[in-house]
């Protein structure tokens, strides 16, 4: 233990730091400089002071953080037309130091929660396979040290998967989720490589390879207006090829015309009927298993989950990060100083503005504000609801009605 510092040396530190931490965009550089120059703290002491203080504040005001998205790379081997990360993609990779610091932050902010989750994300995360292994093994060691359990998953386009990777993922229980939009016609229309070539058959190989070590195959399907008419065929076809779980999302960040929306509704209804009547034990379609949204606005972004950029900044989620990884929308902090942007976390957890905005539009009773990132993409504000997403939520609800109950019985 270090000698006790003379109290007079740090008199006034509370009054100095309080307004900075309460500001909308806290200048942490200025706070650290002041702690060092005015209060004679060492650089390490100044950092510990900030990290420890905001850790306490976050612990008192907000739920524990239990989920972490690690952006291992901003690079991607594909050039998908609709990618929500287009503005973020580049060539930077996350260093081992930053991934370790991010994992430390997860454990520090997890409070008494015993089960934590890390999502390996990108860009295309397999481009930084070494980074994935370093982060995974570090997190496993931390979990063992603190008596917690840790789960992993990863979202990948599958094109670069090889046996070494799939065996590693199986050994470390990393669940691999593939991004596939459907059968060849649908998939190859938008999920193309940088030479403009379709990637369906390469992803098909990934399904076969992955199936050897991971019996349950999940896919994230993005439905574009141009593909919407083939949705049922795409899902049933992929099921026949060995896919077990579908997470279906309409393509955001672009306008949908009424006819395409109507077709989406029609396809979703047919799909729900097929799903409900089949009662297949080896199939899950998340869209139809979800119950109602309840009264609460917002999601776990910034509440119980955070995403870390390649250079260590903390965002509520990777989709919000996708707007810019250098000047984050709703930045929450960084891995060195912790979640210092308390006002931003308050806004995204509290969701009062989102709730008010929905109420003003007369939709608060049937819509819980949608996805922050979709809102931002359409309205320029995280807390102004996307009316297109509101319409899609009604379509989904209509297709889902009765479905979950049937599955349950």
């Amino acid at each position: 233990m270090e000698p006790i510092i003379d109290d007079s040396k740090i008199d006034g530190v509370v009054e100095f730091a309080q307004p900075i931490l309460l500001s909308t965009e806290p200048n942490i550089g200025s706070l650290r400089a002041g702690l060092e120059s005015t209060f004679a703290l060492s650089p390490q002491e100044a950092r510990d002071f900030i990290y420890g203080t905001v850790l306490q504040i976050n612990g008192k005001l907000f739920p524990p953080i239990t989920q972490l998205e690690l952006v291992h790379t901003e690079g991607c081997n594909l050039a998908c037309t609709y990618c929500f990360e287009k503005d973020m993609l580049g060539y930077r990779r996350m260093s081992p130091e930053i991934s370790r610091a991010a994992i430390d932050l997860l454990f520090d902010y997890s409070g008494q929660e015993k089960t934590l989750q890390i999502t390996h994300f990108g860009g295309e995360p397999t481009l930084n396979f070494t980074g994935i292994t370093i982060a995974t093994e570090y997190a496993e060691a931390r979990a063992a040290r603190y008596g917690k359990s840790i789960k992993f998953d990863m979202t990948t386009n599958g094109v670069l998967l090889n046996q070494q990777m799939t065996e590693y993922f199986a050994d470390h229980a990393i669940m691999v989720l593939l991004s596939i939009d459907g059968l060849q016609n649908s998939h190859d229309r938008f999920r193309i490589d940088k030479k403009g070539r379709g990637t369906f058959f390469r992803v098909l190989q990934a399904i076969k390879l992955l199936k050897r070590t991971q019996s349950w195959i999940g896919v994230k399907m993005t439905v574009m207006p141009q593909n919407v008419g083939a949705l049922v065929e795409d899902v049933t076809g992929l099921y026949d090829l060995g896919v077990n779980q579908f997470i279906i999302g309409y393509a955001t960040g672009m306008p949908w015309c009424n006819d395409d929306m109507a077709e989406y509704a029609s396809q979703l209804n047919k799909l729900a009927k097929w799903y409900k009547e089949g009662a297949r034990k080896d199939l899950r379609i998340d869209e139809f298993d979800e119950t109602d949204d309840g009264p609460h606005f917002g999601c776990q972004a910034g509440r119980t989950s955070v995403a870390v950029t390649v250079d260590g900044q903390v965002s509520p989620c990777s989709k919000i990060m996708g707007f810019s990884s250098t000047r984050l929308v709703c930045k929450l902090g960084d891995v060195w100083n912790g979640l210092t942007n308390i006002r931003n976390r308050m806004d995204i957890v509290g969701c009062e503005r989102l709730e008010s905005a929905c109420a003003e539009r007369g939709i608060a009773n049937e819509f819980r504000g949608g996805c922050f990132a979709v809102n931002y993409g359409e309205t320029g504000d995280l807390y102004t609801p996307s009316l297109q997403e509101h319409t899609f939520s009604l379509i989904k609800r209509s297709a889902c009605s009765g479905c979950a109950a049937n599955r349950c019985s």
């Binding site: 510092i5 739920p63 998953d153």
Partner: protein
């Protein structure tokens, strides 16, 4: 890092950190404190076997079930 660093923080500095945290917390906690503290809980209608991908992989609000929240808020 804080888990390690707390062990090396000087007691006087730690005391100031607590003061600062308490001050800021009390100033902010008047604002819907109970609501902020609530976490989302999954309430899907089937029992997961453990092999499924969790909803958290994708972050749309529809994937997060709030039955327990509703119960808490109604209390």
């Amino acid at each position: 890092m804080a888990s390690d660093s707390t062990e090396r923080i000087n007691p006087n500095v730690a005391d100031k950190m607590r003061q600062l945290a308490d001050l800021i917390t009390s100033e902010l906690s008047e604002r819907t404190a109970a609501r902020l503290a609530l976490g989302f809980k999954c309430t899907v209608d089937y029992a997961c076997t453990g092999q499924e991908f969790t909803c958290s992989t994708f972050r749309c609000p529809g994937s997060f079930k709030v039955k327990e929240l509703r119960e808490l808020e109604s209390q």
